[in-house]
């Protein structure tokens, strides 16, 4: 490799000036004159050695093709072939090879294979040039054959070499060759794929057969190639699949005589469909293999997203739903987003796929007993239910659509009539069939009418709610089960204990308007049970992982309220239980474990949004929230205080809590004394108490909370009571959470008023050490002796060293001091 690249870098010889025919050259008169006058000057021209120049400047002139050919072969074989196809062998580089027919050759085999390759290249070139379909397949077959041969031979080399010349070098060489050939093959197939793909894209009708070839490549053993093949096929299909569903002609239709064009189209469609089918089969098989899982899923998803109207979409959908809860993050995301886009772009497939997908997911959930990844249910959120289909659509919209359809029909028919005229084939049967085809065509391509759409929507809804109810029931069952038989069947699964509950609740809240009123009662019952679930089993000492968390229970309350709100409180359901739950859940809240956002949301929806609250209940919540604010961080405290403020504003009588009237004054309820530990807000007797909490909250370290507390305690006296607090508990929670804290130093250059110097004299007195002089003296002496000993030691060592070097002792002694000085 290195060698060849070096060779390429060599600067090419200067090119000959462009060849100009002699007659084209014009001599000016002056030139002629000059030459004639000074023949001596021009003599050199006659002496020019043209052959030498030619040699120097790139030899004989080559055609472009030849140059290209040469370049190619140079690159691939590391040797140079000249025009006559004789092989230049560099004996150092390449050992002689024994060919199939037993002759020793210097690279003869290589030559053959190269030739074969050149053949294929030529074939491809030809294909590009002329579009003779009949001829093409032959050529292709030939090319394929030669390629196979080449492959075979490539495979055979190493063995032969190993057999006949078992020198280690040969083995190594063989290995290298094998590697090289593998790489080459990879490159080849890659190029091939690219070429085929480009051809297909440029003219699908003519090159539709190439699909098979590409599919063939996908059967390769190299995973890389297969992946590449799959992806390029995906690109091709995405582009060439028509905007309608293909219906293969029946046998009867096949018997009929048709025009060339029709034949051509039929051939095209059937080939496309067959190839597509084969491709999908391949994908669905590969999708189950871990190596190809991601690639295949990507292909499937992209296809379904791009061409949801086309044949075999059901199969695609099935395999997507199968993977919707895949443990592989990428695959799961892909599947979910695909289904989501199916739901949101119903126009592409007329809503049919929505029904199917929802149905499939519902079955999937059922089959897995609700142990799936939450994402698989979250996709329902992107379904859109259109309420108006039933009424208005039925009349005007439907008519419009009909008209539109007619128009389009006419247009198309006109086109076809024109075509027919041009072709001059007016057989009646033919046109009948065509009509049938168009009718089919329409049925597939265009939106179904309103009735059908409504039907589909009902179906979808029922599947969605079936899923949701299944999840709720499953959760309740698992809770009940776990409280009875403790840990016998506890396998929380890979996704936690109730993976689907959260998205299910979200979905219920969103689609509650679509829910039939008959089911509402059941739903509320379920929610009530779920919300109060853990208070039942609180007594059991073993805490069960299957119990619902505080956030989940809060969510249940929330959904119940949302359901009520969206039905305009038409239902006659008592929400009291949910308030009781909330009243107790506030105390079970743990900052790290539970989501504060959910808590803030429930405060907002359950307490702030209601215009009027029962006085006892409101007072109880005011008191509890104020107490709550004493124990938790700023975010929780602030959202609680905002709610308190809101409640106090709406319930004027609750402001009695701000006044210290003995026994709750005029509004005291049936309970005379406040019960802080009560579990029911109505029985807490909160009206009898005073909001003393505000006192300590005014000393809160957070300035915002302390001002809030002051405002609250002055609410009764201040005049401006009309304004409503614009901040919601959620907003307060978000604003005061630590993540939002800016931590910017407020005002750096502040002056401290009371700069203070400590009278440190008294402390100093304590710090002065009593030093034992006697001991110090002793230590000093010891230190001295040690140091002196060291010094003496050093000196002695020096003295001992010196005699070895010099004989003259006397001289050395005199020099001792300066020497040691130098040393250090």
């Amino acid at each position: 490799m290195g060698k060849s690249s070096r060779k390429q870098k060599v600067i090419p010889p200067p090119l000959l000036p462009p060849d100009v025919p002699e007659e084209d050259i014009e001599f000016s008169d002056e030139d002629l004159k000059f030459v004639q006058e000074n023949t001596d000057y021009a003599r050199f021209v006659s002496r020019i050695d043209t052959t030498a120049i030619n040699k120097q400047c790139g030899g004989r002139v080559k055609s472009v093709e030849e140059k290209y050919e040469e370049e190619r072969s140079k690159k691939k074989t590391h040797q140079e072939e000249n025009e006559s196809n004789e092989i230049l062998v560099d004996p150092v580089d390449v050992l002689p090879v024994k060919t199939l027919d037993g002759k020793l050759h210097f690279r003869t085999v290589t030559k053959k294979s190269k030739l074969a390759e050149a053949d294929t290249d030529e074939a491809e070139q030809d294909i590009l040039e002329d579009e003779n379909i009949l001829n093409k397949s032959q050529r292709r077959a030939k090319a394929k054959k030669s390629k196979k041969e080449a492959k075979k031979q490539e495979k055979e080399w190493p063995e032969e070499i190993a057999l006949e010349e078992e020198t280690p070098q040969a083995a190594v060489l063989a290995e290298v060759k094998e590697e090289l050939s593998a790489e080459e093959m990879f490159e080849n197939s890659k190029n091939k794929l690219a070429e085929l793909g480009m051809e297909l894209l440029s003219d699908p009708e003519a090159n539709i057969k190439s699909l098979k070839e590409m599919l063939e490549i996908c059967k390769d053993e190299d995973t890389k190639i297969v992946k590449l093949g799959l992806l390029s096929l995906l690109a091709v299909f995405k582009d060439i699949i028509p905007g309608y569903r293909i219906r293969l002609p029946t046998e009867k239709e096949l018997e009929m005589k048709v025009s060339k064009e029709v034949k051509k189209t039929r051939f095209y469609e059937s080939t496309l469909l067959k190839a597509y089918k084969a491709y999908l089969q391949k994908l669905i098989i590969l999708e189950k293999l871990p190596v190809y899982n991601q690639v295949a899923t990507r292909c499937i998803c992209t296809l379904l997203e791009a061409v949801p109207h086309f044949n075999y979409r059901d199969n695609l959908l099935i395999s997507i739903v199968r993977n919707i809860s895949s443990p592989d993050e990428v695959v799961r995301r892909l599947c979910c987003s695909t289904i989501g886009s199916l739901f949101s772009n119903e126009g592409k497939h007329g809503g049919e796929l929505t029904v199917q997908a929802v149905r499939l997911i519902a079955d999937h959930v059922k089959a897995h007993n609700c142990q799936l990844h939450p994402n698989s249910i979250e996709v329902f959120m992107s379904i859109r239910f259109d309420e108006d289909i039933g009424r208005r659509d039925k009349e005007d919209a439907n008519k419009k659509k009909y008209k539109k359809n007619n128009k389009r029909n006419n247009q198309e028919e006109q086109n076809q009539v024109q075509e027919n005229e041009r072709k001059k084939s007016k057989r009646e049967m033919m046109s009948k069939i065509r009509d049938e085809v168009t009718a089919d065509h329409m049925g597939v391509t265009y939106e179904p009418d309103a009735i059908e759409r409504r039907k589909m929507q009902t179906e979808t809804l029922s599947a969605v709610f079936e899923t949701y109810f299944r999840i709720l029931r499953n959760t309740m069952y698992s809770i009940g089960e776990s409280s009875e038989e403790a840990n016998t069947t506890s396998n929380p699964g890979a996704f936690g204990s109730h993976p689907l509950l959260a998205p299910c609740l979200d979905g219920l809240a969103k689609f509650t308007q679509q829910l039939d009123l008959d089911y509402m009662g059941d739903l509320m019952n379920y929610l009530k049970k779920l919300a109060s679930s853990s208070s039942v089993s609180n007594n059991t000492k073993q805490k069960n992982s299957k119990l619902l968390t505080v956030s989940e229970r809060l969510r249940c309350c929330l959904v119940a309220f949302r359901v009520m709100r969206s039905n305009l409180n038409a239902l006659n359901v008592d929400l009291q239980d949910f308030f009781v739950q909330l009243y107790n859940l506030i105390l079970e809240y743990r900052p790290g474990r539970d989501s504060g956002i959910v808590l803030a949301e429930s405060l907002k929806i359950m307490l702030c949004d209601d215009r009027h609250q029962d006085m006892q209940k409101a007072a109880a919540f005011v008191k509890r929230l104020a107490t709550f604010a004493l124990c938790f961080g700023c975010a929780e405290s602030m959202s609680a205080l905002v709610t308190v403020k809101n409640l106090l504003q709406k319930n004027v009588k609750c402001r009695n809590l701000l006044e210290n009237d003995a026994g709750g004054g005029s509004v005291s309820g049936s309970i005379a004394k406040y019960q802080p530990y009560a579990t029911d807000p109505n029985l807490s007797g909160a009206l009898a108490t005073v909001l003393w909490e505000l006192k300590i909250l005014t000393k809160h370290y957070h300035p915002a909370i302390s001002t809030m507390a002051t405002t609250l305690s002055n609410m009764n006296t201040s005049q401006s009571q009309t304004f409503l607090s614009a901040v919601t508990p959620q907003q307060a929670f978000a604003d005061f959470s630590l993540e939002k804290e800016s931590f910017e130093p407020k005002n750096e250059s502040r002056k401290l008023n009371n700069k203070r110097k400590r009278g440190s004299s008294s402390e100093e007195a304590q710090n002065v050490l009593e030093i034992d002089m006697g001991r110090l003296n002793k230590k000093l002496k010891e230190n001295f002796t040690i140091l002196r000993d060291i010094k003496e030691d050093e000196r002695e060592r020096m003295e001992k060293k010196k005699p070895l070097k010099k004989l003259n002792n006397v001289v050395k002694k005199k020099l001792k001091n300066p020497k040691s000085k130098k040393k250090f």
Binding site: F632, E659, L694, E748, N754, K755, R756, K779
Partner: protein, 593 residues
């Protein structure tokens, strides 16, 4: 350069003039370098360390991950590093008659010579005698460190025996300062301005080199002496003469460096003495040196936190307290530094909170970070009553809350306890209300959340902020949890026990503790918790009774403030005593540890 052979050298000398020239140039350089090596060694090392650390934190704003809490004051560094160690240090020139004696002979100090010198100095304040004494003193201080007198003088000073050695050191250290003052006519409590004015005093010219020599030698002794007590003695005596450093800014920098080093690394008494010197310096030279002292101490402290040592807990406590003491000398100046440092801490914690980046979280979960927080918490606690430190207080509380929020779970029990202790301390000292109940009560549930605990699978290295996993299951750990809960709540309640809102404050904790008692199976713990609940309920009852009698409303500022203030002074209430006993007990166990 390899050494040449003899012949080659000869040849070179004869024919290669340039080589000879270069040799001549190089020689003195080497000589000097080696001679000064001992002295410079440590200083250079330190310098290198700091230089190494500098580049990576040059732009703390650019990349938040690079925030380094000990590097916030980098820009102030330069002045400290430069100077202070470049000067030479030689003997003083003595009077002519002494110089007449044979130069090559070493001068040997004997006991009799010394005593006569001492007498001269003592009684007549003789400067000449002082000069020679100081020369001997210098020789003694450097004894064994340099094999002989070095630059500047050819006279060899030697000391005859150990008695003389001890005497000269003790005498000079004890008397020198006094003598200087007497000669110059200064009082014991003179200010540095006076020293600076001395430049006009004619006596100063003659005395200045003496003072210089004395300070240098003593510093050397303090730094190099092999024995602890000698060092301590040298430092205590040096402290008296701190004022004289005013005339020698270079030496001042040097002494700061030495003292900081001794403060951080030294043994207890030595560390104390070094700190006293630093304190004196920062007091006397407030203008120039306060910041330098503070920054150097801060850095040394934080660098020291990372090195685990046997008694590091106590030592760090001492270092922290002394640092806080120093800071408290000039709150105005410390405030600026504290604000910079705390902002840095806050930035780090915010980053960790928002990104949950592993690297950032680990940075917070380090000794350095916690010790730094500890430092400033104590600083604020010490000064919040006298000065308005509100912004600092607020920021540090949020930082602590952030840390507590970041590390949930039983493995971080100690860190959480520490956080709550900080909050309690700040709350007690500043009188503001900091809610800690939820942080504390979370610890009650550590036991039950054990199985689900999936946090912290990182390194198992033992540190004071993180517990090894196998501890968590042990009964001892659970006991520890409950005891710390009770202890922390006791501190919290003790502070507010006479506040009008106390019943409400205690409501939720009491509920939670009751719930714990219902669930718990350990009888011993249950009893402890039950007793605590009983006492708190007594307290609640008391406040409630008093409150029922009161006629004012919550918005009556004055009466609420005055509520139960009288009772507060009375410590007879059983719950007050109970809280106190718990607090005392916890302090006791801490000391035992």
């Amino acid at each position: 350069m390899g050494k040449l052979g003899k012949k080659a050298r000869k040849f070179a000398k004869k024919n290669l003039q340039s080589v000879e020239k270069r040799n001549r140039k190089l020689k003195p350089f080497f000589k000097k370098k080696f001679a000064k090596r001992n002295e410079r060694h440590e200083v250079e090392d330190e310098e290198e360390k700091k230089v190494e650390k500098q580049p990576k934190k040059r732009f703390p704003e650019e990349d938040h991950l690079d925030i380094c809490i000990d590097a916030v004051f980098n820009k102030d560094d330069g002045e400290v590093l430069s100077g202070g160690d470049s000067d030479t240090d030689g003997f003083l020139d003595e009077l002519v008659d002494e110089a007449d004696s044979d130069i090559t002979n070493p001068k040997v100090l004997s006991g009799s010579v010394l005593s006569s010198c001492c007498e001269l100095v003592d009684e007549q304040q003789s400067v000449e005698a002082l000069i020679s004494l100081l020369n001997w003193y210098r020789a003694a201080c450097y004894y064994g460190r340099e094999s002989s007198g070095m630059t500047g003088s050819d006279i060899q000073y030697d000391i005859e025996d150990s008695d003389t050695f001890a005497n000269v050191i003790v005498f000079v250290l004890q008397k020198a300062d006094n003598t200087f003052r007497n000669v110059l006519g200064l009082s014991d409590s003179c200010r540095k301005e006076k020293i600076l004015k001395l430049k006009n005093n004619p006596k100063w010219d003659s005395l200045k080199p003496l003072v210089n020599s004395f300070l240098r030698s003593t510093m050397h002794l303090a730094k190099q002496a092999g024995d602890l007590e000698i060092k301590v003695f040298a430092l205590t005596q040096l402290r008296v003469s701190v004022v004289f450093f005013a005339a020698f800014p270079d030496l001042l920098k040097k002494i700061i460096k030495i003292s900081v080093h001794l403060w951080v690394t030294g043994e207890v008494t030595l560390s104390q003495q070094a700190f006293l010197i630093l304190k004196d310096i920062s007091m006397v030279f407030n203008l120039e040196c306060f910041d330098t002292c503070l920054i150097n101490m801060y850095k040394a402290f934080l660098q020291d936190c990372d090195i685990p040592m046997a008694n590091s807990e106590q030592r760090l406590l001492f270092l922290r307290d002394s640092f806080v003491e120093l800071c408290s000398q000039d709150v105005q100046k410390s405030y600026a530094k504290a604000s910079v440092s705390i902002t840095q801490l806050a930035k780090l914690s915010k980053m960790a909170l928002t990104t949950k980046n592993k690297e950032a979280v680990e940075k917070i979960h380090s000794e350095q970070y916690t010790n730094c927080v500890d430092l400033w918490v104590n600083f604020i606690a010490a000064n919040v009553q006298d000065c308005d430190l509100q912004p600092l207080l607020y920021t540090i509380i949020q930082v602590i809350n952030g840390v507590a929020q970041l590390f949930i779970g039983p493995r971080y029990l100690l860190l959480r306890v520490k956080c709550i202790q900080w909050l309690n301390l700040l709350s007690c000292k500043s009188g503001i209300f900091i809610p800690i109940a939820s942080l504390v009560l979370d610890m009650l549930e550590y036991k039950t959340t054990n199985e689900a605990e999936k946090l912290g699978k990182k390194l198992e290295a033992f540190s004071t902020v993180k517990l090894p996993k196998n501890w968590l299951k042990s009964q001892n750990f659970q006991e520890q949890c409950i005891f710390s809960v009770i202890e922390l709540l006791a501190v919290h309640f003790a502070q507010w026990s006479f506040h009008i809102s106390f019943p409400e404050l205690a409501t939720i904790p009491v509920m939670r503790l009751r719930k714990f008692n219902e669930r718990s199976t350990m009888e011993g713990l249950k009893r402890v918790v039950k007793r605590f609940i009983e006492q708190v309920e007594l307290n609640i009852e008391f406040v409630q009774r008093k409150r029922d009698d009161a006629a004012f409303s919550p918005n009556d500022q004055q009466s609420t403030e005055a509520f139960l203030q009288l009772e507060k002074r009375n410590t007879n209430a059983s719950y007050t005593q109970y809280y106190q006993s718990i607090i005392d007990k916890s302090l006791g166990t801490k000391k035992k540890k």
